[in-house]
Amino acid sequence: MMDNLTFLPVLLPMLAGVLLLLPPFGKNRNSRRVTSVILSIITFASALALLLKVSADSIQVYAIGDWSAPFGIVLVADGLSTLLVCLTSLLGIVCTLYASAGDDEKGSFFHPLVHFLVLGVNGAFLTGDAFNLFVFFEVLLIASYSLLMHGGDKRNTRAALQYVIMNLVGSAVFLIALGILYGVLGTLNMADMAQQVSNLQGDDIYLAKIGGLLLLVVFALKGALLPLHLWLPNTYATALPVVAALFAIMTKVGVYSMMRVYTLIFGDEAGELSHMAQTWLWWLALATIVMGAVGVLASKDLRKLVANLVVVSVGTLVALVAVQSVEASAAAIYYLVHSTLVTAALFLLADLIGRQRGDTADHISAGPPVTQPRLLGVGFLIAAVAVIGMPPLSGFIGKVWLLKATVDTEYSLVFWPLYLVASLAILFAIAKAGSTVFWHHHVISTQKLTLTRVQPVQLISVIILLCGAPLMSVFAGPLSEYAFGAANQLHDFNNAINVILSGGQ
């Protein structure tokens, strides 16, 4: 059992998804909800157990079917991937819980699809094989296509159609890149690829470069990096907010893959190809931050605003990936967890606010007052302070850390002013949105509003997410130590390769 622990965060959501499709849970609404939440808690527990094991005995390598490393597929659980698996499973719990208030009845198969999505995301984080990464990408994508259509209207169909077509092209490009890399390197195990890259000679170097940069296109599409980010605001703003909250982790899959590919495979040891994507990543990341900030300023409703915040966070993370130092990676890991939790919380809050404002919904304009201004206002305040990056919450620590990590790089003269101005823009936009939504009221006497109050399960799930921000700043010490450990594992080329290829001994 303990030996197979690495595989459980992938296996359990799959079993959960299948189980929830079976008759006893397919018919009865309540039993389905309860089972779904319990199963996602079990998945989270297995992810936590894996986290404890990884922090106790370093990297865990699991050879699927006992086929050893360069020939079979391995799952690699190191500090970074395990942390992200925990984060995904936590989001799974929150979303199943939140949707149990009624969102899951707006279409069919909500709960199984959430578990399948968690399966795909967990698998993408854990896998150590590039082709297997493609397979898990497809698993998470097909679940996300269906979730995107869940309870949808016309706008939703349009956004989903564009999203699906973009991602199908992305998958095709992914396969081309893998084909080139396999043709040149003769392997798709990431550790083995990293070893082979430095031995390339002659024209093969250019072929590998083409393959590597095509991968950049794919990851930029998944992670919503400029100029391939255009699908994101529409998709996230039209999806059901609880689904959008779950999607908050999906752009991070792209960023995570960039970390793996451009730090491990095309990193320090890659000979002529080392750091080949760095300049691309850096400038695209900066442009993404600018576009995201402009998008935040221009957003007309809360959900679109949050979607643009996701774009900004992706830009910030990719800039840190481009720096490629241990400290930058550690800052990126901390910021990644923080931004995922906060944007997910903001999506849910936008939904709750929208429900209490009648026809005005979540538009940033004067409308009927929300029914529970104190509760939602405090929640929005906490999330806003965290996402803007003001003290004392986690956003501030993340921001200081990432500024410190970039201070010695050659581009810091560009990054610092640009990032700080972007933060200021976000501060303005959110302050304006918050004050308009909570303080500008029409007095409506004729129109009777149906009073909708926040249901307990919704409240619990939002509180779980919001707790992240203060907790991450209270426990910043241990967390930053953990992030440093994970970043060291990511950058420790020889150790990683030896451990993975020898099967985790």
């Binding site: 296509y145 259509m149 169909t157 159609l161 077509i165 396969l175």
Partner: protein, 123 residues
Amino acid sequence: MELLYASCVGLLVSCGVFLILRSRTFPVVLGLTMFSYAVNLFLFASGRLSLNKAAVLGYSSEYADPLPQAFVLTAIVIGFAMTAFVVILSIRGRADLGNDHVDGQVPDNERNKHKNKKSKAKV
């Protein structure tokens, strides 16, 4: 053989890309299908093209690389599922949006053309 193979892949990719860039869903779906055919062929060739080589170890001194075949098989299965999904989604889009444009709305110049045709027919 290499030249023929490479030109086939190239032709399929260029047709696929051309069709994907069209504005209506039907050509786009066709383009995606063609693109995925090209990708499958390309993946197959990543183990190098060869004739008369055994795929199983131990039956001859030279053997073909079995891994690309496994890749292609996986890619075909996934591509098939995704194509089926996008076809259904396009049909749903046609029903929901009232037209088959990828953007969900008929562009202005095309609408005008349509009107002109109608008015001419009336005349």
